[in-house]
């Protein structure tokens, strides 16, 4: 059995009276793609924010490669190999594609304030290595042709790909993708799925959050379904699709969650 790179257990978070996430458990095995789905308001993005350190959980624990990292700051998690993307495109709009990706590798380059400030030899070597790495990423994700184009001038679909490129530039072990297919045409969705598979094939474990069932089933072997901040069920895509509870959650009842 393969190793568990990310384990989430008993995670909970409330905003005032609203219990956004409660008692969430799931794990990611080395090299797998896990889907995290659920209708709108189910708490998917909150879960990502909790795991990636953007929010501090009220309860529960996050373990990354056998080390408990609950409540760590986002940047220290990135240094430890856990990276996330954002729902809407998150790129540096005025910068070129190339320098966007290089910024993604910041965690690789930056190993402390003083080395970065005085630009030590080690710092330079790390930067050079990152620059080489950026080239591979651009090649692999098909962004070479737009490497000098400011990110804001890319079409939406390619901005999303750039977001992925930025995320993998720090050589993560685990990557959390927040709705990578939202707002894309079916064709583009397929392309993004391809990119994700390619990232995965480099040995990166992936958690994909989305509400597009078709996209998720094509990508993941295992899917966790969230509903009202709780885990509804976990299983293979086909099992999930046939689960009456999931169908109920997806089509909704008369009382829709706020």
């Amino acid at each position: 059995m393969s190793r568990q790179v990310l384990v989430v257990s008993g995670l909970g978070k409330s905003f005032g009276a609203l219990q956004a996430i409660s008692d969430l458990h799931f794990h990611v095995e080395d090299g797998e793609i896990v889907g995290l789905i659920g209708p709108n308001g189910a708490g998917k993005t909150t879960a990502i924010n909790l795991i990636s350190g953007r929010l501090k959980p009220d309860t529960g624990m996050v373990r990354l490669e056998d080390k408990v990292v609950t409540g760590f700051s986002t940047n220290s998690l990135v240094q430890r190999g856990l990276v996330r993307t954002f729902q809407s495109t998150a790129v540096y709009p005025e910068r070129s594609v190339w320098s966007n990706v290089l910024r993604g590798a910041f965690a690789e380059i930056y190993k402390g304030f003083w080395p970065a400030l005085v630009n030590t030899g080690a710092q330079k070597r790390r930067r050079d290595a990152a620059i080489v790495h950026v080239e591979t990423i651009l090649d692999e994700l098909g962004l070479q042709d737009v490497r000098d184009v400011p990110a804001q001038q890319l079409p939406y679909g390619r901005q999303k790909t750039l977001g992925l490129a930025i995320a993998i530039a720090s050589r993560p072990r685990v990557i959390l993708l927040d709705e990578p297919a939202a707002g894309l045409s079916a064709e583009e969705v397929d392309r993004v799925a391809d990119v994700i598979r390619r990232i995965n094939s480099r040995g990166v474990s992936v958690v994909v959050v989305d509400h597009n069932m078709r996209f998720i089933s094509g990508l993941c072997r295992r899917v966790v379904v969230l509903h009202h901040g709780r885990e509804l069920c976990t299983g293979k895509p086909a099992e999930i699709a046939a689960n009456p509870q999931v169908i109920e959650a997806y089509l909704g009842t008369v009382n829709e969650p706020a």
Binding site: V83, R84, T85, A90, S96, F106
Partner: protein, 329 residues
């Protein structure tokens, strides 16, 4: 409020070619500044005084530029100028510490205050940061005034000596110029380093920078502290320059002067605060024959500059050189 200079990808990414041009203009400016006393010795030594003031204020303006580049506008800079000024003035007049030690202490104490206050202040963003720093500035002025046993209250500290080796106006000018060049090198070093890259990322989006592994808060605090440290040095130099300080020297108007220097000069480049301090210090000299109207005209200049030159004097220079290049090609 966030200072978010528009930066073209080409300009921002360019780490090579335009460098040399920038280098050349830097060298040219330093040469002019170094030759300044010689050039004017025959005419008016008051110009030397103005030159010293320009060089002095460029230290504080450049240090504030670092905070601007993080996308924040601080009105508390006069407070840190005052901390630096008081530290060196009190050490020099009270304990008889040697000048270089007092000078170093002034920067360190001011930087230390930045390091202590930064984590509180930098939790705020935008207009709230502006208003908080405004109140911090007022608060500091009250403390300087009320803590009479330490600061001698509103009466101020008189008889602050200049460093023995730099007591003549010309040598003092060179001392200030040296500190300013050092400060420029530090600021430039920060901006060109990977820390500068992080600052730029923070300005664009804190959350994205954070998820790229930038320790956002720590870098913000560190930069804020560096900025306070540098302006503390100006405080020490200025105290020895004027030989007198009082709380009235560290009011909101003084903070404002630093902000205006940055805005008028331009916020995209370290040249901005330098140009801004030349302009803001020289402006009253240009208006000196119209003493009744000088503040009216000063106000008019501010309004016109914001309306027609939002990118500051630096942008004006860029436009002019672009025109020249076009004309040449």
């Amino acid at each position: 409020m966030t200072a978010r200079p528009a930066m073209t990808a080409a300009a921002a990414d360019n780490r090579g070619s335009r460098f040399s041009a920038s280098h050349m203009s830097a060298v040219a400016v330093i040469v002019v500044m170094a030759a300044w006393p010689g050039a004017i010795a025959s005419s008016e030594s008051f110009l030397l005084y103005v030159g010293t003031l320009v060089v002095l204020y460029s230290v504080g303006a450049m240090s504030l530029h670092l905070v601007f580049r993080m996308g924040q506008v601080s009105f508390a800079h006069a407070a840190f100028l005052g901390i630096g000024g008081y530290t060196s003035a009190l050490l020099l007049t009270g304990s008889g510490l040697s000048w270089p030690l007092a000078f170093c202490a002034s920067g360190l104490v001011s930087g230390l205050f930045g390091l202590l206050l930064g984590p509180i202040v930098l939790r705020l963003r935008g207009v709230y940061f502006v208003l908080f720093t405004f109140i911090l500035c007022e608060f500091a002025e009250r403390v300087f005034t009320d803590w009479g046993s330490l600061t001698n209250g509103a009466g101020g500290v008189a008889g602050i000596p200049a460093p023995p080796a730099f007591s003549s106006p010309v040598s003092f000018y060179y001392l200030c110029l040296g500190v300013a060049v050092l400060c420029a090198l530090i600021c430039r070093g920060v901006l060109k380093s990977d820390v500068g890259e992080a600052i730029d990322a923070i300005r664009t989006s804190e959350s994205l920078a954070e998820s790229n592994g930038v320790p956002v808060f720590r870098i913000k605090v560190a930069i804020f502290a560096i900025s306070c440290l540098l302006v503390g040095f100006q405080g020490a130099l200025q105290a020895s320059f004027v030989h007198y300080i009082s709380p009235a020297s560290y009011t909101f108007d003084e903070s404002l002067r630093f902000v205006v220097m940055n805005v008028i000069g331009g916020m995209n480049s370290l040249w901005g605060p330098v140009l801004g301090s030349v302009f803001i210090i020289a402006l009253p000299e240009l208006l000196r024959n119209w003493v009744e109207y000088q503040w009216v005209l000063y106000g008019v200049v501010l309004v016109l500059a914001m309306r027609y030159l939002p990118g500051g004097l630096y942008e004006l220079g860029e436009r002019a050189s672009a025109l020249l290049r076009k004309g040449g090609a």
